[in-house]
Symmetry: C2
Subunit: 207 residues, 2 copies
DNA sequence: GCATCTGTCTACCTACTAGTAGGTAGTGAG
DNA sequence: CTCACTACCTACTAGTAGGTAGACAGATGC
C-alpha cells in the first residue's frame, strides 16, 4: 500500500500540500500566497490544510527545511568527491546547477528569502550556509596561493558566483523576455550551464 | 519656494510618498507593503495618500517608472561615451555599479519584479531593457570576433553579468550574514565593485 | 465677503486573510 | 457494536487590506 502506483493521489495529502506550497511560495512569495490558494491547488479546503500544518508560517518553514536539506545534501555529496583544483570547483558548480535546473522553485524561494533577509523563517539562512561559504573561501584561497587559480577576493568571488548561478533560474520570467525564448527549455538550460562553467573557468584558471 | 531648503518637509508630499513607497516596496515587496505603512512613513493617513495617487498599483507604477528612467539615463550616458574594447565594458559596468550603490532600493525592487515576472506592472520590464540587451550582445560579439574578448555566449554572458551585478545589492541582508559585516558599508561596496570589475576583466580579456 | 480649490481628516464600505469551533463521514481494533 | 481516530467539511471569528464619502481647515482669487 506504500509503493504501489495507485490510480490517483498516490502521494499523501501532506506531501501534496508541501509540493503545492513550494510552487505557490516560489511563484508569488510568502505574502502573495494565501492558504486558500494552496488548499485549492490540492483540492481541499483551508481548514483541512490546517489540519496537516498548524499555521501558514509552520508550513512555510517545513517547505523551506525540505528545500535546504536537499540542497545541503547535494553540496555535501559534491564536496565529498575526490577531486582537486578546477575539477573540484566544477563538481560543486555542476551539483548546484543540476539541482537548480531540476527544481527552479527552490531557487526562487531562496532568492525571495535572501531578499527579505529571512523574516519569514525562524532559521538564519546565511547562518546555515555559512560553513560551506567559509570552507569554500578556504579552498579558493589555497588554490590561489598555489598559483592554480587567478587571484581574486575569495569572499566576493563566491557572492558573485552565487548571484550568477541563481539568477538565470530565479529570474527566468525576465530572462524569457530578454532572449525571446523559454529560458527553462532543456536546450537553453544546457547552454546556460555550459556557459557558466566556461565563464568561471576563464576567470579562475590562468592563460 | 521651490529650491529653498525650508525648515522641514522641503519636498512636496507627493515626492515624499514616492520616496517612502520606493523604500517600502524594496524592503517588503508589493504584497508585503500596505498603504498604511507608506502613509505612516510620510506622516499622513491612508486616504490622504490616495488623494495624491489613485491606487496602490498606480503608485507602484510611478515608483517603478522613475526608477527605470534613472537607470536608462545612466546607461545611455555610459554608452554614449567614447571608448572601445574593455574600457567601454568597464564604463557600462561602473555606471550600473555606481547607481546600484547609490540607490540599493532600486536593485531590490528590480529583483522582485524580475522574480514576479512583472505582474504588478502594466509595462514589460524585459521589453524596456531589450534594446540595451541587444546592442550589448552585438558589441560583445564584435569584440569576440576581433579577438579582443575571449569567446563566450554573449547572451548568457550578459545574463550572468546581470545576476552578478545585482545580487550583492539585492541580497545584501543575506550577504551580511555570510561575510559577517555590513555589506552596504562604503568599504565593502568599494571592494565588491573592484572585485566585479576585475573578475569580468579576467573572464573577458585574454592572457 | 464669499466661492473655490487643495490637502487632510474620520468614518465607513467590501473583500479577503489566518485561524477556530464543531460536526460528519469512513476506517480499523477489540 | 462501540470506541477512537483521521481527514475532511461548513460556518464562524477577529483583523486587515484597498478604496470611498463627506466634513473640515486653510489658502487663493475675485
Amino acid at each position: 500500500m506504500s509503493d504501489a502506483t495507485s490510480i490517483e493521489s498516490s502521494r499523501s495529502t501532506r506531501d501534496q500540500i508541501l509540493d503545492e506550497a513550494l510552487h505557490c511560495f516560489a511563484e508569488k512569495g510568502y505574502e502573495g500566497t494565501s492558504l486558500n490558494d494552496i488548499a485549492a491547488g490540492v483540492g481541499i479546503r483551508r481548514p483541512s490544510l490546517l489540519h496537516h500544518f498548524p499555521s501558514k508560517e509552520a508550513l512555510y518553514g517545513d517547505v523551506f527545511e525540505r528545500l535546504l536539506s536537499d540542497w545541503l545534501e547535494r553540496l555535501d555529496a559534491a564536496v565529498a568527491m575526490t577531486a582537486v583544483g578546477w575539477d573540484k570547483a566544477e563538481l560543486v558548480l555542476r551539483a548546484c546547477l543540476d539541482l537548480f535546473a531540476e527544481t527552479p522553485d527552490y531557487v526562487r524561494i531562496m532568492r525571495r528569502e535572501a531578499l527579505d533577509g529571512g523574516v519569514h523563517l525562524g532559521i538564519d539562512l546565511s547562518g546555515v550556509l555559512r560553513p560551506f561559504f567559509d570552507s569554500a573561501v578556504e579552498y579558493l584561497e589555497s588554490q590561489m596561493q598555489q598559483g592554480i587559480f587567478q587571484v581574486h577576493d575569495a569572499r566576493h568571488l563566491l557572492i558573485t558566483g552565487y548571484g550568477a548561478l541563481l539568477t538565470y533560474f530565479s529570474d527566468s520570467p525576465f530572462v524569457d523576455g530578454l532572449i525571446d525564448e523559454d529560458a527553462m527549455a532543456a536546450k537553453n538550460i544546457y547552454n546556460h550551464q555550459e556557459h557558466v562553467i566556461g565563464f568561471f573557468r576563464s576567470a579562475l584558471l590562468k592563460s
